[in-house]
Symmetry: C2
Subunit: 375 residues, 2 copies
């Protein structure tokens, strides 16, 4: 029998009881630690509003069983304390580049051999209608295949149609693909994609914020779309209706500051109508191929540029935790690691891991008073 | 033998000698009248630069022959003095709605029964590649047919491919279509469209700024594209390469303040690549059907709106000469008809015809000192 550490058991418990994103839970864990937060949820020692949301499931302590099942499947629970937690990906940024909204899931159930933060480091979401046409399948395969061959991870939702075409094309070129599910990772949904899901797990990973056994439901698809958007550097919609899951993912993308792209098609095809409308209404940029996608979502290209531009580009190269910590560094005076954790919203151990890298790249300096920004 | 009035003969002479747009000629006619301007051109009594441009053809006085030919064809010479001259259509406007650039042709040779100012009152240009696909032809026919059935004039260049499809679809629904040529209107170019050009002449009109007998040449196609854009309320590109005549027309459209639209297609089709790039780079708005086109180019819809909005919309409804004269009216003090002609760049008789309409609609008032603006 596997021995789980108490933090992991607490996260697993909370994931089962809370299900989905909760800003309140994030604050509670931040203030009390995860074990104490779990105790509060279990005993109902909570503000009324949050107690009402959790009390129906508070008695369900299936943490050990869920973790055992994950282990049996070769999976794991990734928590905000895990080194592979892609913390920054969940945050929405305001106009000044500050974290303005935390869309983190409680934890992520993952089946897959790759570390989550690694596989999502350079990733594009490709989503679209389940009722795709052969044109849509073809274009999806072209774009996904080219992106994957170029080293991009392709993220999608494992649905029939465009999602499936994106995963398959990526697997076809030996690329890395991640499926984010609206049900437990032990469930094959849709069941027709059971074998595909196994292949995806061996490639990049199958991910869900819902504990094992959770069945898909409409609100879970909407929450799942937020994770697809959050984990990617950009969202490409290929064939979608106007009111569609794909457009919901795109809306999340804009909210999270991700570039949203759409592929046009024949105006005679109803399947492309949503894409056309998104482009027309300024909700998405038109892309016709992988090269267009990289132009929009990729890192700034290498080339001749002035020193000023070089500095801006170097700064642009900061991403994830590095970016958050850099933004938290003061331009004058200095801050302690604790203060930087508070300011950036990151865990202290993440701040501590990031600062030496920033120093190495010439973005941060330190003295006896603390850390400061170097511009 | 038809007797032509001396002004008409002078315009016909100038059209043959000057060929194409000339700002200098416009100024010369404005200052000296058309007969004296023609005399200056004929005798070389001109500034060096303009003399050099005209001296090679100055001896060609084919005016009477050209006008006879037009009459035999059932055509006519439309000049800036003609009531049907669509004066305002040739002007580019600056950010403040003032005429900033005059792209007027010297005169227009027209075969067609309808008055030019009337048929271009509410008109859309539809242009595209000569090497159209069946998809492009189909979409062009759908859009042109729907616009024409809705009372819009469809303007194009009578070329093979998209142009031809636009003209044909308009004729097919009994609509009004205008072809602007880069050669004399007595020439059927392309010759394969000889019968189509006859049908277009019976519908709306076949128009050229070049005198009879002029052969097509590359620079004339580019100048012709300016007229296609100028005569329309919006330009729709269906299937075009990146460096194409259609894109040149679109560029003229933007310069003249016309909305430019492009129809997407399969990203697998090279014929749609130019349209996609124009949309991606913000040179054109995506439109998928006639309804989208009307949304972009049409008059402001009727609906509930506040009084302020109603006022703005009423002002927006002013177009052509009305708009130019309104802009020339002073907000305080008053101006004479002569001053308004000078200010608006319109001929005195046009200003005189427009003022009573503006007064009727409550935009202008008059007293013993002259005319003023009512807001």
């Amino acid at each position: 029998m596997t021995i789980y550490d108490p933090d992991t058991l607490a996260w697993a418990y909370l994931s089962r009881v809370v299900q989905g994103p909760s800003t309140y839970l994030g604050t509670l864990v931040e203030q009390l630690g995860v074990q104490e937060a779990a105790r509060c949820v279990r005993t109902g020692d909570l503000p009324l509003e949050f107690r009402e949301k959790t009390q129906a499931r508070a008695h369900l302590d299936t943490a050990r069983r869920d973790l055992d099942l994950m282990e049996a499947m070769g999976g794991r629970l990734v928590t905000p304390q895990s080194p592979e937690w892609p913390a920054w990906r969940m945050l929405a940024f305001d106009g000044l580049g500050r974290a303005a909204e935390d869309n983190s899931p409680c934890a992520l159930w993952v089946v897959g051999s790759e570390k989550l933060a690694d596989v999502t480091e350079r990733s594009i979401a490709i989503v679209g209608t389940r009722a795709s046409t052969s044109y849509g399948d073809h274009v999806t395969a072209e774009i996904a295949g080219d992106l994957a061959a170029d080293g991009w991870t392709v993220i999608s939702g494992a649905a029939f149609g465009i999602d499936g075409a994106a995963h398959r094309a990526t697997l076809g070129v030996g690329g890395v693909t991640v499926a984010v599910l609206a049900c437990g990772v032990d469930r094959a949904y849709p069941s027709g994609h059971a074998r595909l899901l196994q292949q995806i797990a061996r490639s990049g990973g199958v991910v869900s914020e819902y504990p094992p056994g959770t069945t898909p439901a409409k609100f879970r698809f909407l929450a799942r779309n937020r994770l697809v958007a959050a984990m990617s550097d950009g969202i490409v919609v290929v064939e979608a209706g106007w009111r569609s899951g794909a457009r919901n993912t795109a809306t999340w993308g804009r909210r999270l500051g991700r570039p949203v792209m759409a592929v046009p098609g024949p105006v005679t095809s109803a399947s492309s109508a949503g894409c056309h409308r998104m482009i027309r209404e300024g909700e998405a940029l038109l892309v016709a191929n992988a090269s267009d996608v990289v132009d929009v979502a990729g890192p700034v290209g290498v080339g001749d540029c002035s020193e000023d531009e070089a500095a801006v580009r170097a700064l642009d190269s900061l991403s994830g935790n590095s970016r958050l910590v850099y933004e938290a560094l003061p331009g004058s005076g200095s801050r302690s690691v604790n203060q930087l954790a508070e300011e950036s919203g990151l865990l202290i151990n993440h701040v501590r891991a990031t600062l030496p890298l920033l120093e190495l790249e010439g973005f941060a300096g330190s003295d006896t008073t603390g850390w400061f920004r170097i511009k």
